[in-house]
Subunit: 153 residues, 2 copies
DNA sequence: GTTCCAGATGCAACTATGTCGCATCTGCAG
DNA sequence: CTGCAGATGCGACATAGTTGCATCTGGAAC
């Protein structure tokens, strides 16, 4: 990701926030910078740490509330991981993906965004259930850990 | 589920615990009774409440440790729900199912256990990732809530 | 039935992840 | 520049789960 890409992501996010009539404060701006400059999956505490490292301390409550605003604005996605904190990342249409969590090493892998399309269609027609495929990570074991995996636990 | 079914489930669970050389204590026995007599999905606190109602008070730590033993023994499955506590239920081969959680009303629905078979095969061959399909609930919106659902959040 | 001890339990303190009420501060519209 | 809705800081609270340690007990050995 080039500096240019980062700037584009920041601008895009800020524009979308403004379009919703939300204010652009120091905390929000810094938080968007952190998310835009990062391709990893960050927990709320990770984000607070990076804000502090960038010399923009924000209270934990502010981080959570800001993330909530960004999620509501459709700018950020939060993904729940079984055990441990939720992770947050900017939504990027050309970078859409689902998440796989290794139960042994804890690594988060990306999966193609169309992975669950068939499942979604089946659930919709059979149970009327509208699947939200990106809201939780699927779990299992990565290539490295799979051979030693113990199914229980 | 008839009283007979419950008794069979209890006996089966106790036998499997013994086979692993684990002790059958009052707390464990009562906890298995609770799980065997219930088709719902119970959180650790739900279980503690039902134990208390059955006049077998067990400390929260004991409930967690006992559940962990049962999970390790392959007798109980725990399913993580985004937001809120994990739920536990006895594993019953002829009753296997996956879980769907409605993000609006919080209801837990069952889904056929083969729902993710294709996905599992794709992940295994393409990424070497071994999916554990029952460890997390899939989220979305049930038939009732879907029409009003707001995707963000 | 008694003894013994690994393992189970009770308890309290602790961690982690969020949430909330309220006083203060600040973006930004006018 | 000013006013104020909305954002922030702070601390207390809530929930879910874990851990260290002293005590108790299931069940095997005798």
């Amino acid at each position: 990701m080039t500096p240019n890409d980062v700037a584009r992501r920041v601008d895009d996010a800020v524009a979308r926030l403004r379009a919703r009539g939300e204010r652009i404060t120091k905390a929000r701006s810094a938080l968007i910078d952190v998310l835009a400059g990062c391709e990893d999956h960050l927990s709320a505490d990770d984000i607070a740490d990076r804000l502090a490292a960038a010399e923009t301390v924000a209270h934990r409550a502010t981080v959570y509330r800001t993330l909530e605003s960004l999620v509501k604005a459709g700018i950020v996605a939060h993904v729940h991981l079984p055990h441990g904190a939720a992770t947050y990342h900017l939504i990027d249409a050309d970078r859409a993906h689902l998440h796989l969590l290794c139960r042994t090493c804890g690594e988060i892998l990306d999966a193609p965004s169309d992975l669950l399309d068939d499942v979604r269609a089946r659930l919709e027609s059979s149970a009327g259930f509208r699947l939200d495929p990106d809201h939780v990570a699927l779990t299992g074991w990565c290539r490295t850990c799979a051979p030693d995996a113990d199914v229980a636990g």
